[in-house]
Symmetry: C2
């Protein structure tokens, strides 16, 4: 316990020091310009679509090498640069005091800054600018999005204020904190992670003892995965070496919830290195599953078809697996929810479907 | 611990027995008709708007005494009655095996029934019909909605599979399970409950140690409270005698999130007795707070104005307090979010606003 606590402290302390150093560096960059009698300006990697590149080796989007400059010599940029300094200062205070604020709170705090944000959008942009400029995450800066972290159930012990075993905190499991990087993994007794889109499926898995039968952690994503959830999945995959399997609804939206976990998003190209888990695997519901298991389906809507066609052109979907499944879904014109396996009884998904999928995965590996 | 476990078992066993008895009774009602050579029919309290009455003494909506009959002698009702028997049978199996299913899973399970549901809506209605017919909740029947339970942080020990203290399960706290009635309260060391609309405010309260400073449980509602959350608040209020205070955004939607916790909804009049907490108090953000604290505001939109006018005519809002606040908000034409207190710094809401509110409440009591 004491050793665990110390380990936790060191990881947390390290990220804290890096962040404080980066923030100090930002201030120094401006001060140096002033000392050299230059108009202060700072270099920021461009986040324009032209500078977002899919990296084949890394298997996620990254930023290219284009930079922009934000200068106090440019009337249009004064406001943004001033806000960035204010936000930097606010974050430095947060980090030093080991506090966090929601981006909504920061928006209101800015009322006292003289150059307050006019819209939430304006303050979000400055937050992302700081991320990309400093190479740390918004969470490292103490700025928390208001998203609901996933639920985790199974035999992992972690340190989040206190020592917690995620199989001993109630049926709904441990909720991933927005401050997931302050959490340390202490011990675990599982050999994989099974992440599912809906809490309906999460509760089914818990109830059928899937965590014991498959020796896995069960993660309930609650739809599109929060940043903290993506960070958690990446950390268990890389720090603990646990394979991550994702099972979502069999439709373009379920596909993409998995893909954002696997390959990150274009919009957050600058932090994908911290968020993407390229080795995570989508195991279903695939178009092939819909056919093979004769699942209850709904007809694809126009918007589903449009979305599937978009995905087929997206570099993240260029593997044979995805191309085949997208084409097959378009051909059958149908989609299926993950809970539709209960056509064969509530236990079927745990008794039959997941064992078959895990065997398939092991044969591939 | 053993005693606690036993206590939990007895509460759970009692509800289980009542539910099984009620389900058996439903079957007997039909069998008795057959034995008397009568066409089977069952009596169901009407849930039509004409039979939903606001009960002044109880301070929530209840069903009146009108009944309808569903008869196998009526061609239009055969399908519904047949489905109800199937659902009753499905639920009896769930309860006996101590399992649960989502209403979505039941929808798919019905594929094997011959008279499967054509829409989710159709199966929802049968679920509610059973609730009203049997006088038990859908959750007692093992049917779970797919809603996200609130987060609870603070010094309460409860039994949910295992013994849990809600201050020792991580920064995001204990998540209320859909099966909240299987959870037993073992011990607590708080004297009130503070429920807030947003997880942003929840994390602020946890971070500022509000649970210790106010000796309270902190509950993060995540918007409109799930049925399990409402049941939890009612149980802590009535079983543990803890006053419940609710603080939401200062707009008609925040008002109504509180009001549904306090007085229940018209749609669920038949289960308000299990869900409503008439003694819970809305403490803010009020229109008066917006003025007194000079909060950052947004202009009321047309839809806000319309909604406020609706609320002013709703029997649940007939007290002087609500009438005054609704009129005041319409007059100033403005609304404010609960996080807007951070205009005065992140800690202001805990240092100044809540202490003032709690003092006000104590003086009223």
């Amino acid at each position: 316990m004491d050793e665990a606590k110390q380990k936790k402290q060191s990881h947390k302390e390290e990220r804290k020091q890096i962040t404080l150093n980066q923030l100090t560096g930002l201030g120094q960059e401006i001060i140096e310009d002033i000392e050299k009698n230059k108009v202060p300006s700072i270099k920021i990697p461009s986040r324009g679509t032209g500078n977002i590149v899919y990296d084949d080796a890394k298997r996620y989007y990254v930023l290219g090498d284009r930079f922009g400059r934000r200068s106090l010599g440019n009337v249009k940029q004064i406001r943004k640069l001033g806000q960035m300094v204010y936000v930097g200062n606010f974050c430095k205070d947060l980090v030093a005091r080991e506090k966090t604020a929601t981006i909504r709170e920061m928006y209101y705090v800015s009322e006292g800054w003289g150059i307050s944000f006019k819209t939430q959008q304006e303050s979000n942009i400055i937050g992302e600018d700081l991320e990309v400029k400093l190479g740390v995450t918004r969470e490292d800066l103490g700025l928390m999005p208001e998203e609901d972290g996933a639920s985790v159930y199974g035999d992992i012990t972690l340190f989040d204020e206190t020592q917690i075993n995620a199989a001993k905190v109630g049926k709904s499991g441990y909720t991933i904190s927005p401050t997931i990087d302050q959490v340390e993994f202490i011990d675990h007794n599982v050999d994989k992670v099974l992440a599912v889109e809906t809490m309906g499926m999460f509760h089914r898995l818990v109830q059928e003892n899937a965590h014991k039968r498959f020796n896995c952690l069960i993660v309930g994503l609650k739809g599109q995965a929060a940043r903290a959830t993506r960070r958690f999945l990446k950390r268990v995959n890389e720090e603990l070496g646990l394979p991550v399997y994702i099972c979502n609804d069999g439709d373009p939206w379920g596909f993409h919830i998995a893909q954002v976990i696997i390959s990150g998003s274009a919009k957050l190209a600058h932090v994908n290195e911290q968020l993407a888990t390229p080795d995570a695997k989508f195991i279903g519901v695939t178009a092939s599953d819909i056919i093979n298991y004769d699942l209850p389906t709904d007809k694809l809507k126009d918007v589903d078809v449009m979305r599937l066609k978009e995905l087929s052109k997206d570099p993240r979907y260029k593997t044979d697996f995805w191309q085949t499944e997208i084409k097959k879904m378009l051909k059958i014109g149908k989609k299926a929810e993950q809970q539709s396996f209960s056509k064969y009884g509530l236990e079927y998904v745990v008794d039959t479907y997941f064992p078959a999928k895990f065997e398939e995965m092991e044969n591939q590996a």
